[in-house]
Chain length 176, copies 2
Amino acid sequence: MKVEIRLAGTGGQGVILASVVLAEAAAVHEGRQVVQSQSYGPEARGGASKADVIISNEPILFPKCRKLDVLLCLSQQAADKYSADLKQRGTAIVDSFHVREHVRPSAVRLPLSETARRVLGRELFTNIVALGALARVTGVVKLESLKQAIAGRVPPATVEANLQALNAGWDVARRG
Amino acid sequence: MKVEIRLAGTGGQGVILASVVLAEAAAVHEGRQVVQSQSYGPEARGGASKADVIISNEPILFPKCRKLDVLLCLSQQAADKYSADLKQRGTAIVDSFHVREHVRPSAVRLPLSETARRVLGRELFTNIVALGALARVTGVVKLESLKQAIAGRVPPATVEANLQALNAGWDVARRG
């Protein structure tokens, strides 16, 4: 089984770090085959940011996302730009504050950035809140694997706050 | 013109961060087309770490490195594992402390980790020292673009130390 996931937002929202954490959770802590990548085209100067993760039980022959199973959008621009890449029955997860309109009525709308502000006091943690939510909504990785990956990837002084963000995201996705 | 670059070492040496900085330097600050990626196979648990960057003036159709133009090795294991992927006339850059044997007599041996220890007091900065050296030896990106990318990517409190590391790497590669 192969899952193609895109995390998208604006520069500074930390989608690349989140995608590296997701990739390492699946690869290092669950033994899956994973490719994590960013493609930068002429739009790279525009401040948009996206990162892709492919998780599979088999070797991944074509390393680029084609049709997404999961699309996380932290900005309206990301939702507008990438929703067409989502499979018909794919899962869209959108931040309910930054994404006001979404083409998919089935999109899971969650207060990710609001949760980051409320629980951590800073929107900076939205990316990790989003990972917790994504894990619960999709089941693609275990929460425990994400915890271990975070501990190995974020600056030591911020591990505790990031784990708090992850748990808050898991909790807020209860209804997903 | 397309350049395929691999940064390789052990977990904790920061090759993924370095590759994201390199990718953003080329894409955001020089307007090139770039794909940055990590593939994690069954060896992901072994502590090895590698990250690939493809920089091109044209759209990149096949997003995976095939034959490397540039290979940076920060560990002996990385040198042993990836040297066969380097083109016949490709450029190998190796850390002279951690890589004691290298199959390519033409490899550029530089005291990257020693420079990080000497100038910054911590080997943690080896990845950014290496970027400065790589820029000078290969000319694939401008030093100025790397400076801008670093400022946008590392924690604010560490920008100055990282820029110092970058410059130290540039200086140490004089002879490259």
